[in-house]
Each structure stands twice: as C-alpha cells, then as structure tokens.
Symmetry: C2
Subunit: 626 residues, 2 copies
C-alpha cells in the first residue's frame, strides 16, 4: 500500500507567487465579451471605457430659481433693488433644466422677491455663469470613465451611462469546477449511513465562487478510483478555468490527487507551511489551474480563502482584498508550532474598553469554529504564539459594528445560552458564548474578560451552589449573582437503559464504560462529589479519563455506544434520544459585574431570561425548573 | 407657482433612528419562506437552525495510519518494540474513515514500521481514543447551528449541511421599487436631445439593491405630473417593501414628492443636515417605506448609502456595516459649513510614509468623483473643516491593498495620464491623477504629497519650458525632470471656424467670447504670455474671467456655443469634434523626486511612457510630438 509523502513546506506567499507566475498564459487567455453596462455589476472591464457624450450635454441650472441675463443685473444692490420682467429679463427654472439663449446666469429662488407672476425684484447682481452647471462639468466626451481591469461597482454603472455608453467590453466570468472525492463522502442528504460523511465543502466553495462573481460547476462526489477520478478531472479542466479537487490531497493510501495532477499535467507544488492546510496541491493541466484542497472543513475553507481566492482574483484581474485588522487582547495562552504559519479563529468582544479575543476550537474539522469566528489570529512561522493578556493583531471576519454590540459570556455550557442568543438577535445584539466550564468562567471574570459567566458550582461542604465560590474567588470584584435556571442533572444512558444503570455504584461495574466531563466543569465537580460521597475511587471507573467539554458531546458518546453512561443535563439526553435517570437539580446561575448591570446588553439578556417566550423554550427543551 | 420649503435640518442619526422606529410594523410583516440551504447565500434566517444529525456521526480516524486496540500496545516503547498483526491487532485506516469495533485508538502512519503487508512494528504505546475524532466533535444533534436573524455566508452553508439540515426558514428578499422622475429625464440611451439628462441613478440604485441581496423593481422615468406620479407610486408601494422616488425632493416648482407622500400617506421628515443630500424625504404609505432621494448623482448616491441602505438592512434584520477608517493627511484646505455634516470624496495614496488625501470635486453632480474616490472624509456639523497638512479620519471606499500600490500624480491635466493609468492596471498598479494645474503640481511636490507632478510651464523670459521653474521653486528638493511628450497648443474653435479666429488679436474682437483656464495652469500662463507679447489687456477680452479646470471642459464650452474660442491641446479639440488652430508645441514633462525613481510604481510608469503601445495611443489621439 503506497503512500505519498509531502513534497515541501513552502511559505505561502512564495507558493502563491510562484503559482500565479505559472498562470500567466491562463490569465491572458481569459476571453472578452460585450455586455450591457446595466447588467455588468461585478464584471471586470477588458478595455478603457471612453465617454461618447458629455454630461451634462447642455448648460443646466444648478439651483432652483430664475435664469437671467447677467448684464441686466449689474446695477442691483441692497440700496438699489431692480425689477425684472418675466420673458424679457428672466424665466423661472428648476435644477437640472436647460439654460437657453440669451440667459447666462441663475439666481437662487431664495434671493428673489416675487412681486406678481410676471415680475420679481432682486437686490444682488448675478455674475455671469453663476449657479450654472456647464456642459461637460461631470464628464466630457472623449474622457476615460473607467480604465481597463476595473471591477464594475454600482456607481460605475451610473457614470458609464452618463457618458452615453451602454455596451462595455468585459472579461468572461471565471469558471471553477468543483470535484468532491472520497468513498466516505455522500451528497444524499436524506440520511447518513454510519461511516459516511456529508459532502459540505463543495457547497461552501460554490457559494464563495458565486460571491466572487465566478461560475461554479459542482459535480457529485467521485469515488476514490484512479481512472474514474482521471476522467472526471479531465472533463472539468476542459470546461473550466480552475478545477478544485477536494480532497485526496493528503498522504493516505487513497490520496490520488497529487499523482493524478502529475500524470495529467504538472505538479507545481505539494505542501504549504500553513496550519491548517498543509497538504495543499498546486498543479497545472495544460493551461488550467488545478488545486487539491484538503478535506477537513477548517483546512478546506482556509485554503480556499488564502490560496484559491487569490487565484480566482488573478484570473479576474482584480486585486485580492486586504483584511481589516484590529488589535485584541488574547484571553487564553495560544501555543503555535514554529514550522507553520498558523490561523486560529477567535471570538471577539468589547469588555469594558478592551477588545478580547477568545480562541475557538482549533481542530481542523471544526466547522462550527468557522461559523462562530469573528476574527482570525494569524501566528507567523517561527513564532511560539501568544501568552494570555498579550495584544495581537486579528483579521476581522465579522463587522466591528456587530462585535461592539456583542455580549461576551465565558463559562459553563448550556443549550439555553444559544436560545437566549437567538432571541437577542432581534434587538441587533449578539451573545458570544465560550464554553470553558464554570471555573473557567470564574477565572475569566477575574481577568475582566467577560460580561457574563454562567456557573453551576456545588460546594461539597454545604451542598449549595455558586455563592460560596464567589466569596472565595471573586471577593474583591463587584459582581452580582443572577439567578438563572434550575437544571436536572443525571445519568445519560442508551435508550431503554440496557445496562440498567440507576445508582452511582453502577459506575464501578466492569461492564460499564463511563464518559467524563473536563476538569473545572460544574458537572465534573458534581461527579467527583458523588464518587466521594459513595467512597468510589476514580481509577475504579472505566473511562473516567476520557473527557468531553460539553453535555452534548457526552450524550453523543453514549448514543454512539463508545460509552454506556455519562453525567449531564436532561435537555442534552433528550436532544440525543437517550434515557435519563435524575440525580437531582442544580443551579445554573450567572455572574455579572455590577458595572455592566445597566448596560443595554445585560438589560436585554435579563429581559429574555425572565420572558414568557423563554419559559416556553425551557418547557420544550425539558429538564429545567424555575 | 408654489414652491416647497424644507421642513427641517434634522441630524442624520436622529432622522434614521426616528424613521426606523416607524418601520417596526413593516419589519414584523416581512414574510418567511423555506429554501434549500444550498441556495440560501445572502438570505437571513427566520428561525434558529438546529442540527438534526451529529457531525461526524461516527468515531473517525483523525490521521492516516492504523487503528489499534489500545490495550495491546501498552508494553511498546523504544527499547521494547512490539509487532502487531493485521486483522487481529490492527487495520490500516485513512483520515475520516470509521473506527470499527474492537479498535479504540489510532497510530499515525509516520510512527509505524511496516515489516510486511500483514505485520507492522511500533515503538510507542497508543493511548485510548488518541487521533480519533469522536462522534459529535464538530456538531451534536440538537445543537443550534445558526441563530435567527443570521445572514447566511458560505461557511454557514457547509455547517448547516453537516448538521443534516437542507431546508431552512428565511425571510423573503426585500423588494425595492425605484421610480425615476423628471420631464428632463430619459432612459433612451441611444441619443440625447439638448436639455435632456440620462436616467443613471436608478441603475446605480438597482445594482446596490442587488448587491445587498434585495430585488429591485425599476420603472422607466415618470413625467412631472401629480396624478401620473401618484398612480405610479401607489402601484410600486403595493408590490414592494420600499419605494424610492428620485427625485422631485427639492424645492423646485415641480418637486411634487413631499406633497405626494403626504397625500398618499404620511410625510415623516423632510430635510436632513447632511451635504450633499439635504432635501431627502422620509415617508410612509401604509406600512411601506417611501423615500425621496435627491436627483444629483452625488447626493443620490450618498443618501442611498447613508439612509436607504440602513432601511434595507433593518427590513432584512441585518446590521449595517461599519466603514473601515484610516487616518490621512489632507493635502488641501477643506472648508465646510457649520450647518451640515459634510461628506467629501477623496483620492488616497501613500507618498513616502504618509497617507495623503486629496479632495475630489465637490459638486453634487459630479458622478466621476464617485467613481474616482478611494475614501470619504466626513466633516461633522459644527466643524469648519480641515487645514492643509492636518490629519483626518477617512472612511475607506477602496481597499487598502490597492491604495498602497497607487502612484499619486498631482499637477497639470492631460488625457495621456488616463491612458497610462489604464495600461498600469495590468500590473495591478493604479495611477491617481489629480488636476490642479502645473503650479499646483509644483506646490504638491514641495509639500511631499505626490510621486509625480506633470507640468508644462513656460518661462516668459527664456521662452523655455519647465526647467527654470524647478530651479526657482524646487531648488532645495532632489527631483528629476523626466521628459514627457510635446503637445500641440492652439485655439479650439467651432467646426469650420465660423468666426474665423486665427490670431491672438482676434480674441479682442467684440463678437468673440473667450473661455479661459484657471490660474496656475500651464495653459493660463501661456495665454497670459501671448496676451502680453501682443500687448492685449485681459479686460479687453470677453469671457477672460470664466475659467475651466481642464482642456476638455474648455473644449466642451466651445462645442456648446457658450464660448467661441479657448486655448488648449489638440487632443481635446479632436475628442470634441472642434477645429484647431496651432499656436505651437509645449513640453509636458514630469517632476519626480529622485527617491522614488527606483520604486516599482515609477519604473512601471516610465516603462509605459517609453512603450510602443503608448506611442501608438499618442498617434491615435493626435496633437502630440515626441
């Protein structure tokens, strides 16, 4: 079973520059076509656009008022007003209308006194050509309105029409063939067999291509078979300017892409020093660009944005846009490898006067990190990353107007946070919810990095929730503890409870595999409290060391059968169709600094929390008390 | 003849906020519809999107390698490698593929030694669940993928599909009716009668609406007739969420818009404290938004961006984007009125390490300023503006990547600058050319605000061009004088030269009206030189005081018959179909600081200047010598 090895660890700029050089013949072969300017938004001019007519094509009034013969107004002044006769000395005129002989000046309506319909009085003389838009003031026939290689925007359409031009020469749209491949990939979205993965990247790619003004030709996933792939790639290369193969670009035994590109044309480069995205393939089939994009959604999206986008732009003859940067405080330590430039997606929020960046899950497969990101923190090659509290430049993905109105929640996870966040969008507010467990929330609060910290922390001595933790860890901060919801905690087990798990002691059984939550989470503290109370040691429990960061992930492990039981909330069990054995109710509350209590964001948050709509959602989710 | 008066001078924020409040019922009545997520880019979710399936829906290999039973690897280490048998202890697996029972761990391909097809050796133990993507790692069934009121982007499409969801509930597209009005407005672009103006705004509006994801219903221009307009507005309000009336919003005698809105519904506000754009009308017809947008393209575009855009966004339930700001040095004094917030479009360029902002023509009708602008300088109400050399915040219209590569030329105008600029786009470079006359160019060079200053300055004593001016004004600067083109100067007269103007003395004739160039321009200096040589005084010439800032504007004045003769270059006369009587050749050269001579921008500029293609363009334009 032969496997590929990565050919290189080339720096991205070098890789893109080298590849674009190779694409020169392809760029010069993009065709030109004539289109109506009114339908040309987003197209790129293939020749300068020269005005055929002047705009205005006549001397026009620049103000509402009267047109006059300036010579006849010279004697007018405040002490010597003069009277003008309509049809002889003046005529009424509206803005934009034609100045006709013998008139050569305009007086504003505000500066005249109408004596009767036929006579007016003026007290100021009119200079020749005052308040007149001279012919060609805006555009003169023969003037260049747009240069070549210009991306046509809405205002350009108006300008070109003003110059009397309707037909313009533009470059054809760039066509991008998109080929998903992999035996495990399916585009039947009706159902998903175990071991199969939905083809999702190709649709994201198609949407990006369309957003860039190109035309996407997406085909259904092609199986991992050399000959089948070869045929499909050749066909797409025939019809398109660019072919994207997703994936088969890695070093797996069925990763044919590099070989196929080499056999069909030329492998220009394999392997780029970025993370995620390393196993990218840049190749040529004849004069067509062929790019092997890695399969994981995180890698795929990054490679599309950083490499495919500039290639499409180059073929379109349009400059790639520079990202908008902001400086943010990194809320957690971020370690990066020296070998690659690393791209880390972050949530951003203004807490007090600090812009805080909280890194999202870095797993290359984490689609949700793409959805939730407000920005991208780019860590250069040869950098070890950032310490918590350090300032770093962040490329903005979301608009600063949205980020500034974001309520930042860091702490324990619960489904209700997403539901509150969804309702808040109606007021144009956003709730950014980072899941780091209850203790993580307390620490974030201490560092001043959150508006809200949701916690559910059991005091093992008193058996009470939350308040004693505030006294212990946040004694010096002025914070409020806002009552949230009561939440049912219990065992999540497979439907029908096949292993009959009902008591804490059952976790010790040798036929029972447990799945845990991460350290510092409220549920972990509850678990350890229960074990202690029942005098059970952690090493007596199979699976105690495998931990998950959310209730839903624990539920998913049970649902998939890799664990028999986990401890979590009823709503998560219900969402996954699991059985649930109640242990008790816990208190899921919110720590909020006093100084934010009267802000719009927190006021809205509390309003939703106390609303009837939210009460109804709790009922539907199940497992909550008030 | 009744005329309207402006009702108010309301601050923009207040006007928009007040109007949006009135639109609340309209917003709540925007309909919901189900669409396929694969076709939902740019749509806005009308309900949260909840994952139906987990992603991955199985435990999957996160690396290429082998899956193993972790228990059987515990004894492996560097001194004690162990051998595993295929089908019993391990199986090969590729990234993304299903982990099957009894395997519970993955070892990377790099960490194994294949002994034969059926046996491998390992030297490191495998921890349980290492290199395995657990079920639900990315998305867990029941999790919220997108909240409501979320604008769907390409990455969202992938995420929603990953969660097993294909159909999503979104809000219908916002429909905008666009009604151009005015008896002088025409949309027959084949020819333009004197006094008519092309309808250009409506197409720009349509393009903006489409860019925002809305649907535009543009109709042909409607005449200035109360009843006809009333019918057209009612019909559009029936079918659309928003109706734009352009224009009739001012105080002219035929500006019916305010009255019509009041009669059909309610006039919420008339008159906003912005410049341009003051006579804006905000109204309601039933629950439909009706906005009267002023007619001048500059005002129209600004009002569309600043007021109509937020209204469309509010109906779409999407936040209005915040502009990206940059700090720039203002190259010329900008005076603003205290009464309005003023928006001034500027060209931007990096000269040395300074970002220089040069204001474009402020006339409200100047479409070309919209096209050429790189940014907008917003001068607050109650501010008098900026002094030359002051730093000011500028909202970016163009991307900083483009601005940074822009070659800044300030000085005399010639058509060749646009042609050189157009050719430079092929290398991704932009030539920004500000027309302030030769002396203006010299001054800009002195202040370090330009890479290039094109000049053609005649020394009245020596009769030579340019060099002596450098010695006089730029003695202390290290600048080069690069030879440009020789340019024919002469009289531009109507076709057939009906007034038989052939000598300078003819300018004195009482039947001859002259049109001049502005002070400081090379042509003005030439004119004054010729008058002095011929002992003619300026007040002997009719029209001497009417000046234009470009050759083409002078040509246009002659073409339109408002002047009989002007002095300018042959290419301008030719472009306007005028006759041309040569006075002589002048030298149009370029002042370039020594320190920029070796930059990419200047090297490209000089390369184009010396190219065969440019020589050919000179021949086609006519009136140039080398």
């Amino acid at each position: 079973m032969e496997r590929n090895i990565y050919l290189s660890n080339t720096d991205m700029e070098e890789a893109v520059a080298r590849y674009l050089e190779r694409l020169d013949p392809a760029i010069s072969r993009v065709k030109k076509e004539a289109v109506d300017i009114r339908e040309a938004r987003g197209r790129v001019t293939a020749a300068p656009i020269i005005a055929k007519l002047s705009s205005p094509n006549h001397n026009a009034a620049a103000m509402d008022g009267i047109m006059v013969i300036s010579d006849r107004t010279f004697s007018a002044n405040e002490t010597n007003p003069i009277v003008l006769n309509r049809g002889i000395d003046f005529e009424y005129i509206n803005t934009g209308h034609l100045i006709v002989d013998p008139y050569d000046s305009v007086i504003m309506i505000e500066d005249i006194v109408a004596l009767n319909p036929e006579q007016i009085r003026i007290m100021v003389q009119a200079a020749p050509w005052q308040h007149i838009r001279p012919i060609g003031e805006d555009i003169v026939a023969g003037e260049m309105i747009l240069p070549e290689n210009h991306l046509i925007r809405p205002m350009d359409i108006g300008a070109v029409l003003s110059g009397g031009v309707t037909e313009v020469l533009v470059y054809e749209r760039i066509r991008v063939g998109i080929l998903p491949t992999g035996n495990e990939i399916t585009d039947n979205y009706e159902s998903l067999a175990k071991g199969k993965i939905f083809d999702t990247n190709s649709w994201t790619f198609q949407a990006i291509v369309e957003e860039l003004g190109g035309i996407a030709e997406r085909i259904s996933p092609v199986e991992d078979d050399y000959e089948t792939l070869k045929k499909a790639i050749s066909a797409l290369a025939e019809r398109n300017h660019i072919v994207i193969i997703n994936a088969g670009s890695s070093a797996g035994s069925k990763d044919y892409t590099a070989q196929l590109v080499a056999d069909l044309g030329e492998l220009v480069l394999h392997g780029i020093a970025i993370k995620p995205g390393k196993p990218t393939i840049l190749g040529m089939i004849g004069e067509k660009a062929v790019i092997g994009v890695p399969g994981y959604p995180g890698s795929a999206f990054l490679v599309f944005e950083e490499i495919v986008n500039p290639v499409i732009r180059a073929l379109q003859r349009v400059a790639t846009e520079k990202p908008t940067l902001a400086r943010a405080i990194v809320s957690r330590r971020i370690v990066s490898t020296l070998k690659y430039r690393e791209y880390i997606r972050v949530k951003l929020g203004m807490v007090g006067d600090k812009l805080i960046a909280t890194p999202l899950n870095r797993g290359a497969g984490v689609t949700m990190a793409l959805v939730k990101a407000d920005g991208i923190l780019v860590i250069p090659k040869n950098s070890e990353g950032y310490e918590a509290g350090e300032e770093a430049p962040v490329e903005l993905v979301n608009d600063m107007a949205v980020i500034e109105k974001t309520i930042v929640s860091i702490g324990s996870h619960d489904l209700i946070m997403d539901h509150i966040g969804s309702i808040l969008t109606r007021k144009g507010q956003t709730l950014s919810s980072a899941h780091v467990g209850s203790m993580g929330g307390i620490m974030a609060m201490k560092r001043g990095e959150a508006h809200i910290a949701p916690i559910h922390l059991l005091d093992e001595e008193t058996g009470e929730y939350n308040q004693t933790y505030l006294e212990k860890y946040l004694a010096r901060e002025e914070v409020a503890l806002v009552k949230g919801v009561r939440r049912e905690q219990g065992f999540m087990v497979a439907c029908g409870n096949p292993k009959n798990i009902i008591r804490v002691e059952d976790l010790k059984r040798s036929d029972v595999i447990f799945v845990n939550r991460q350290k510092g989470s409220g549920t972990r503290i509850l678990t350890d409290y229960l074990l202690k109370k029942n005098e059970i040691k952690s090493d007596e429990i199979r699976g105690y060391d495998r931990d998950m960061t959310t209730h839903m992930a624990v539920a998913a492990a049970v649902e998939s059968g890799t664990a028999d039981v986990g401890i979590g909330v009823a709503s998560a069990a219900r969402a996954m169709g699991l059985d649930f054995i109640t242990i008790g109710f816990e208190e899921y509350d919110f720590v909020i600094p006093e100084k934010y209590m009267e802000t719009d964001g927190i006021k809205s948050f509390l309003q939703v929390l106390r609303s009837q709509e939210f009460e109804q959602i709790l009922k539907e989710l199940g497992g909550y008390g008030m």
